[in-house]
Symmetry: C2
Subunit: 418 residues, 2 copies
């Protein structure tokens, strides 16, 4: 089964919106072993949209279209679908009820343009939208499937999960042969170092495939194994994973969708440890990552964002003389911040960040990108020096990642050196 994903919208081509929909859909289809052959982005232009429908219809079995279903004048996908399938619009009472219920929940009146969204292509089965007003369409014709969903990501995601995926799963069943993918998430090692550390890939992989997916926070290793039956594929996957872990295990913090913060959270929860954070340069981002994990209230007590030196002294009890002698961006202050937040909050672990994120703030001996990350628990109080690059937001994110990895390594008793 071959899939083609079409995203519609000038805003995607003009770069004002990032096309997260195609990758979201691609991931879900891959999980079903449906091969995504190609994705494209097309303008809000009726003839170009219909032309692309034709191209995709000819070379794929499943066609997924997002965008252009909204209530305003620039939403033309519905009419393109009507013309492509040579069908007409029909009024759906269910869709109108859904729209009315949605507005009622938000204490707002239904508008005329929203009411018009209840008119849907006659050939289509309606996909209910739990999170917005635009219904989706499921169309089957000539043994092919044509799916249309809104471009608003969480509305599309809702439809994928509640309707499209279960339906496709039902239809494909076990017909696709056995394919398994596993992603190992690493941090703290550059792509080429990881590549060399793994050594002879043929020995590790055999028939399996390995892809290196670098991003600013680390490199993801994607292993793909294909075979006739699930048992063989699973065994091969375990074998490859073990060989990779034997070579680069301490850089691997998790699998697939695991975020570093969820891994750290799990480690803390399992060990019944609590944590508090004192942030200067990361400005709240470290606390934000930790609290993105549902249930983080069990181990996360508090965070303090101390931009001013006064706040560092008042809330974190950093010694003023140390601040003056070494400066706010120093190993000593990082350690005092970590210990300060730990002792004032009474948590098991205190973590801190202090650094120069740029573009301003550098001095002759302290460049943009210089960061100290403090870690204190009942046994150690230490700080790690890291030097990142010149981009402020990237530096904040990399510092958060390094701080979380420092916690992971300390809790697991792994070396904190590179």
């Amino acid at each position: 089964m071959k899939a083609y994903i079409i995203s519609i919208g000038d805003e995607l081509l003009l770069g004002q919106t990032v096309n997260t929909n195609a990758s979201y859909i691609g991931e879900k289809l891959s999980d079903l072993n449906i091969d995504v052959a190609k994705t494209s982005v097309i303008r809000d232009n009726a003839s170009e949209i219909k032309d692309e429908f034709k191209i995709a219809w000819n070379i794929s079995d499943v066609l997924l279209v997002t965008g252009g279903l909204g209530p305003t004048h620039d939403d033309i996908t519905r009419n393109c679908v009507v013309e492509f399938f040579n069908t007409k619009l029909t009024f759906s009472e269910d869709v109108l009820d859904n729209i009315k219920a949605l507005f009622k929940k938000r204490n707002r009146e239904v508008t005329d343009v929203n009411e018009d969204q209840a008119n849907v292509p006659k050939i289509a089965q309606v996909i209910r939208n739990d999170k917005g007003t635009a219904p989706g369409y499921w169309i089957e014709k000539d043994a092919k499937i044509f799916i249309v969903m809104p471009g608003v990501p969480y509305e599309m995601e809702g439809m994928m999960n509640s309707f499209v995926i279960p339906r496709l799963q039902e239809m494909t069943g076990d017909k696709q042969g056995a394919v398994k993918r596993l992603v190992l998430n690493t941090t703290g090692i550059p792509e080429s170092y990881l590549f060399e550390k793994l050594g002879d890939l043929d020995e590790i992989l055999g028939e399996a495939k390995l892809a290196f997916l670098p991003n600013p926070y680390g490199v993801k290793l994607r292993i793909t194994v294909k075979g006739d039956d699930e048992g063989t594929v699973n065994n091969k996957l375990i074998e490859v994973e073990q060989k990779i872990r034997a070579k680069a295990g301490r850089f691997i913090y998790g699998k697939n969708d695991d975020s570093l913060e969820s891994v750290v959270g799990k480690l803390l929860e399992e060990r019944d440890l609590t944590i508090s954070v004192a942030e200067s340069c990361t400005g709240g981002s470290l606390a934000n990552h930790l609290t993105n994990v549902s249930g983080s209230g069990k181990y996360f007590d508090r965070g303090v964002v101390c931009y001013s030196n006064a706040a560092k002294v008042e809330i974190l009890k950093v010694n003023e003389d140390v601040l003056i002698e070494h400066g706010a961006v120093s190993r000593e202050v990082a350690m005092q911040m970590a210990e300060g937040v730990r002792s004032t909050s009474g948590t098991d672990i205190g973590v801190s960040t202090t650094g120069i994120m740029g573009p301003t703030g550098a001095t002759t001996d302290k460049p943009v990108g210089l960061v100290y990350i403090g870690f204190c628990d009942e046994k150690v109080c230490t700080a790690r020096k890291v030097v990142f690059g010149g981009d402020r937001l990237l530096n904040k994110q990399r510092t958060v990642q390094a701080a979380l990895d420092l916690v992971r390594r300390h809790v697991l008793g792994i070396s904190v050196d590179d």
Copy 2:
């Protein structure tokens, strides 16, 4: 001039990486009035890559390719370029020097696989990579331009800004006619309400075009004006902007790339106001947004992330009886948190957030999505109640956006009602 953007990489089709490159490039080209006709994503498959090169080469003047230039075995773009142009590889001393310098800066040894990246297609002019090891290629042939860049976003962005954009600008000059786009960023009003509020679009727009770009935090309005000369186009754009502002001005917080946090930061700085934040449900994200703005140290003093009730009492001086009587998620506690952080830090403004982000934590009378946002300055101390949806991360981000907008409206003296 017509452009076609090709992104290469299984990870994009499998959904493991979101294709931010295409939108970044699309935006830059649009700024140059170069029309992006289409973008596509292709697998790491040599024949499919070369086929797509052919299709794009036939229908476009500028072809931009990203991905597959890395140092590992799954990077095959370089060889596809060599075959497509029927050229060969040649060694570049400059590229090797650049790679060596980069590794030296990071205190690491150059690996063999990185050295091989200094072999480049003979037909290409090298685009220097300041942020990574893979060089880019600029190829001109038959009055067309073929550009190849790495898939790592910040490496590609570096090349776009230092080389590709200036070069394209030089080549296109004023030949493209006058086109101007303006995006007005709104928050706090749903798409259909905004649409109705604007009323008769023909009266507002005339020959101009308007697109509604909804996202979970607000709706962006993109105005496009085309014409023969820049003067006419500019005047028309100002006229449309004024008409839109007359109808929905208080929901518009900024233009184009303006983020709400940078707008709020500018307002605070201009008025010489300082701010501190007390976060419960947003977990550091509000402070993180404020400190994403370079120079935020001038007005942002501190943030406190108080997940535990103990922290709310200790650091923010929230009254324990009030906590018990009304619960942590209440108007009263939101106000006390805002006032507490304001008075302990001595800033002009204190802002707070407390709510139930989900998926857990709801009670019979307090659903997931319920949020109180506190605001106190020397004149008022108030809290606003908002009800969002069921998604934890979306709720955090929406709360941050609503809190920032509350500050914006208070500082500007605009009504805080919807």
